[in-house]
Amino acid sequence: MTEEIIIAGFGGQGVLSMGKILAYSGIMQDQEVSWMPAYGPEMRGGTANVTVIISDDRINSPVLNSYDTAIILNQQSMDKFEKTVKPGGLLLYDPNGISKHPSRKDINIYQIEGAAEAARLKSGKTFNMVVLGAFLKLKPIVEFDNVIKGLKKSLPERYHHLIPMNETAIKSGMKIVKEIQKL
């Protein structure tokens, strides 16, 4: 199994940390992982993206031009990455702030109302965990227990009291993910 993922959105949305948790979850189940950020002048408010690869085998290129899954969280990223999803692959996006919805006919498309759900949960910062939940529902490449273990590993101990809140967010993301187009 090899899953090649791009996660793209605004800086500050938790794009990089979502990728990190996913990578840690992979390690927890003894897989190979790579986490490659676009680390340029990106900052809060700018665009941020990270390529995460989880595989049973040694990972060659950490830099890719097409992906099994694109998780897209703003319009700029949609413009840039919709075309990079492999035919038959998955595009998961938050419709909040999207003016031009995906139009490809050869990929699976799902929506996650991450921003709205995080607001409903009264914890805006768990937005990325809602989105992660949606992804894991569609592609359960890592087991839920390992995600929680990954979360523990990637969060400093002083934030461990927030883990139940993140767990709730992941679970609600799993529940509310919406199918738009299934091949």
């Binding site: 990578a23 790579s34 490659m36 340029g40 290129s61 830099v63």
Partner: protein, 359 residues
């Protein structure tokens, strides 16, 4: 017990420095390698092992602190990125001239000049051909993963002390910033003063004892005859390193008609290209020089007899390709594909370049 962590290449190099029992780190922040100093400051190795970590006032100061530390036989290192490494060249030449062991990490970014902060491999010439003045070489080892970022800091210290030369770990912004799984090696103890004297007392300024002459550390010798003799001694040492310390990796080269030669991030990308090429039925392999100096000359020369063509892939406008051409010596075509200025080639681009030249 093996300890697995998810770390950035920069962090792995910093942790490796602590674990291989380094005595001191002296550096100055610069993107994309600032995590080395940040990690060391957060980790506070002065509490763990007694290792000194100091943010110097500049790169010039850092490299001269290395000269001081290395003169006493201590295990010292610095890290920087391209423009900072340029500032250090005078000091590196002095370290080479004075035969001082130390480790310099370069997490390369786009150039020339201040360039940008994105990954690049355009410091190959500077790292392998001198960079500073005079007839000298550094031992240059290039990691292509976070695991190797950790392992090669240890390896660089071993070679530096074995031959009394400065060693460089030549990483790049991609490997420095990327996180991967890394298995950390076990903490090695820092040497005691007695152990430093036992290992380096014959040359280092560890304090004169009545039974020996002064140990003098200098790169200055105004007597031309003596300086030439010193140069011959350095050259003999370099020859020995070229004979004994070459490391490279071959992937699917045995049955290959064509070979990509690439190191560091370019090698990772090209490995995917090889996979794509094999799916299309092309007999393509990858050869990855791991030590850039000493360069795997003999292996490259052998390809001149056994392969049909070579594609060199670099994140530069073509530097290592000169060494490949020199050793192929016109026997088979050697083509080049590169991106520069912080652009990273994709596996597809490299495949297209391969097809354009050879298919």
């Amino acid at each position: 017990m093996k300890e697995l962590r998810l770390m950035k290449g920069n962090e792995a190099m910093a942790e490796a420095a602590i674990r291989c029992g380094a005595d001191g780190y002296f550096g100055y922040p610069i993107t994309p390698q600032s995590e080395v100093l940040e990690y060391l400051m957060a980790e506070q190795p002065w509490k763990r092992t007694g290792m000194v970590v100091l943010q110097a006032e500049s790169e010039v100061a850092s490299i001269n602190m290395l000269y001081g530390g290395a003169s006493t036989g201590k295990k010292v290192l610095t890290s920087s990125s391209s423009p900072g490494i340029s500032l250090m060249q005078e000091g590196i030449s002095y370290l080479a001239g004075a035969e001082l062991p130390c480790v310099v990490i370069n997490v390369v970014r786009g150039g020339p000049g201040l360039g940008d902060i994105q990954p690049s491999q355009s410091d190959y010439f500077q790292a392998t051909k001198g960079g500073g003045h005079g007839d000298y070489h550094l031992y240059v080892i290039a990691p292509s993963s976070v695991q190797e970022s950790s392992d090669f800091v240890k390896k660089a210290f071993e070679v530096a002390f074995k031959y009394r030369i400065p060693a460089m770990v030549l990483s790049d912004g991609a490997i420095g910033q990327m996180m991967e799984k890394v298995e950390l090696f076990e903490q090695m103890p820092r040497r005691t003063d007695e152990e430093v004297i036992a290992e380096c007392g014959s040359w280092a300024t560890t304090g004169k004892t009545p039974d020996r002459e002064h140990n003098v550390i200098t790169s200055l010798d105004l007597i031309p005859e003596r300086l030439e003799e010193h140069n011959h001694k350095l050259q003999a040492k370099y020859k020995e390193i070229e004979e004994n310390e070459v490391i490279y990796e071959e992937i699917l080269c045995d049955d290959a008609d064509y070979v990509i030669v690439a190191y560091g991030t370019s090698a990772r990308i090209s490995q995917k290209t090889v996979q794509l090429a094999r799916e299309k039925g092309y007999k393509l392999g990858l050869m990855r020089p791991i030590t850039l100096w000493p360069f795997p000359k003999a292996k490259i020369a052998e390809y001149g007899e056994t392969k049909k063509g070579i594609l060199v892939v670099e994140m530069s406008e073509g530097q290592m390709v000169e060494d490949v051409r020199l050793n192929i010596n016109g026997k088979i075509p050697v083509e080049f594909y590169g991106r520069s200025g912080g652009m990273i080639p994709t596996p597809d681009e490299v495949l297209t370049a391969f097809e354009k030249h050879f298919m």
